[in-house]
């Protein structure tokens, strides 16, 4: 198996005159926790949305398992094995927590028109397994008691947790998490990162944007640093924190 899962080559994306992402190159391998940090507005979310296929890059190419995916639609990226959790949750608010989870399930039998109508046995059989998987994940993110609550009744932090749970439910090869610990209490945040580390040992790669640097640097094995749309640093957390450039980016002195 080729080691590189995601390869980004010279990706640029601008909005009007602003280069949100500027000629970024980076790799993510199978498995492990990969970090992406940088000040507010440095282009992290834009980079994630470009990988997802929500933005078309102005320049450059994206490869997923050595296949060029630059112009694929988001649902095609999902089919290849990508999933994400948005920075600002985008839940299906009038649907229950459990239904939000089930929408995300991979390789569903009953979400096709014909199967949904005529192969009811088949998807009903599958659904039992999916519901029990969903409840296990909801247990991890601490929402299992709220399975039948409409998502609109969740608190801000609970919405972030469901967003994360939905990403996990998609069983991807690569999961993009945009600030999963934002608004989550420190104890649960740490427990979730421990769980992600366990899952990453089974081959899922996590690519995580996080402003809680101490938490990310404890778990990530490799960290990329962006500033003003450019990729400026890359390395193991230890070498990043040792680099004076890293602090000057955040403090803003040139």
């Amino acid at each position: 198996m080729e080691d590189t899962l995601l390869r980004i080559e010279e990706i640029s994306k601008h909005f009007g005159g602003v280069y949100a992402v500027n000629e970024v190159n980076l790799n993510v391998d199978h498995g492990g926790i990969w970090g992406l940090v940088g000040p507010n507005g440095s282009g992290k979310s834009t980079l994630f949305n470009t990988i997802l296929g929500l933005h078309k890059p102005d320049h450059g190419d994206i490869y997923f398992e050595d296949k060029c995916v630059t112009n694929l639609a988001p649902h095609q990226m999902y089919d290849l094995g990508l999933a994400n959790a948005f920075q600002v949750p985008r839940l299906f608010y009038s649907m229950t927590v459990l239904d939000n989870m089930l929408v995300a399930a991979r390789r569903q039998q009953g979400d096709k028109l014909f199967n949904g109508l005529f192969l009811r046995r088949r998807w009903q059989e599958q659904e039992k397994g999916l519901i029990s998987e969903a409840l296990d994940i909801l247990d991890i993110v601490g929402l299992d008691e709220l399975s039948f609550t409409p998502a609109k009744e969740l608190s801000g932090g609970q919405r972030k947790l469901l967003e994360l749970g939905r990403g996990l439910m998609a069983k991807p090869k690569l999961l993009l998490l945009d600030e999963p610990a934002a608004g989550i209490n420190p104890v649960l945040g740490k427990r979730i990162f421990e769980k992600l580390r366990d899952l990453s040992k089974n081959g899922i790669a996590f690519f995580i944007v996080e402003h809680r640097l101490e938490l990310l640097f404890e778990f990530a094995s490799w960290v990329y640093v962006m500033d003003k749309g450019k990729l400026v640093l890359a390395g193991e957390p230890k070498t990043i924190t040792d680099n004076p450039l890293f602090y000057s980016i955040y403090l803003g002195d040139e």
Binding site: H75, D79, A83, R90, V103, N115, L117, Q124, I131, F148
Partner: protein
């Protein structure tokens, strides 16, 4: 007029418009597609039925052809639906319905222009009374309604129903979670249009004629009121809405023979409809019956005994 016949006639109308209303509920209530061109598909089904039945094609095939052609047009409008913002799409399909009506009105060669066509009844028994004729139509219409209702009900309570609701709630998130949004929209518009086409066929074969003026934009708005009143996303609610609106329509029609007012009574009816829609949207936006959540068989089992979830963990 025979009062029983009047009631039977009302029942037929409720059935026909219920088909249109539940198909709009599939499109708007479940999928969030604001289709303001319902009357166009109704017209397509009606004229297809009329033209084919006049050259001797059997009833069932006329109805199916109307469904297929309406579905093809549904596919056609789903293409701009992917690019246009919802409000622009509404205006575009609204115009589409009116253009079609003006087209059949002015093209005399096609279907008699303004004068329309007469349509033979589907099942004609010599010397049958009007009542029996109405009963036959009730059987036909409600058979079709039952099939459409079941299709929508099954889809809404399958993973498919979850997917289209997800698209209604947040297209971007649904797409990121692997749902091919444009495919779902196209399917829903095709299915909804096919059902509306069937209703159009039933309508003209019941009335024995087809005229351009049977397809005024008001039909679209009436069907919208049925859905909004009954409860978008609730099939039973929409049936209720269809019944109530149809009765209200007849009621005001009867009333206008008894009371005299200084304005044209049919305009008053429009004003009442408009007021009704505003009142619903202001005070009961969810309609009479609330949206039903997805209930697959497995979920129903869990829901009816929540304890089974907790036991599972021990």
């Amino acid at each position: 007029m025979d009062p029983l016949l009047y009631v039977l006639d009302l029942v037929v109308f409720i059935g026909i418009f219920s088909i249109v209303a539940i198909s709009l509920n599939l499109e708007f209530g479940f999928t969030g597609l604001a289709n303001f061109g319902k009357v166009a598909f109704f017209l397509i089904g009606a004229y297809t039925y009329a033209l084919l039945s006049n050259i001797g094609v059997p009833f069932f095939f006329c109805l199916m052809a109307g469904a297929v052609i309406a579905a093809a047009f549904g596919l056609l409008i789903s293409l701009p639906a992917l690019r246009l913002r919802a409000d622009y799409l509404s205006i575009a399909v609204l115009a589409f319905g009116e253009i079609l009506r003006l087209f059949v009105k002015s093209e005399d060669w096609l279907a008699g222009g303004d004068w329309g066509l007469t349509v033979a009844p589907a099942i004609s028994v010599a010397g049958v009374s009007h009542r029996t004729d109405a009963f036959i139509n009730i059987a036909l219409v409600y058979f079709c309604l039952a099939i459409c209702f079941l299709v929508i009900h099954y889809l809404a309570n399958a993973p498919y129903g979850r997917a289209i609701r997800a698209i209604r709630e947040d297209e971007v998130a649904a797409e990121a979670l692997g749902k091919n949004v444009s495919k779902y929209k196209a399917q829903v518009l095709m299915l909804g249009s096919a059902m509306t086409g069937i209703a159009g066929g039933l309508y003209v074969q019941y009335l024995h004629c087809v005229l351009p003026n049977m397809f005024m934009p008001m039909i679209t708005f009436t069907v919208w009121i049925m859905v909004l009143l009954g409860g978008p996303g609730n099939s039973w609610g929409v049936l209720l809405g269809a019944g109530l609106v149809e009765i209200f329509d007849r009621g005001t029609n009867i009333l206008k023979d008894y009371i005299s007012i200084p304005i044209d009574p049919s305009n008053l009816q429009y004003i009442l409809f408009g007021t009704l829609i505003i009142l619903i949207l202001l005070y009961r936006p969810q309609g009479l019956l609330k949206e039903s959540t997805v209930r697959t068989k497995v979920q129903r089992l869990i829901y009816n005994g929540r304890h089974t979830i907790k036991n599972r963990r021990n």
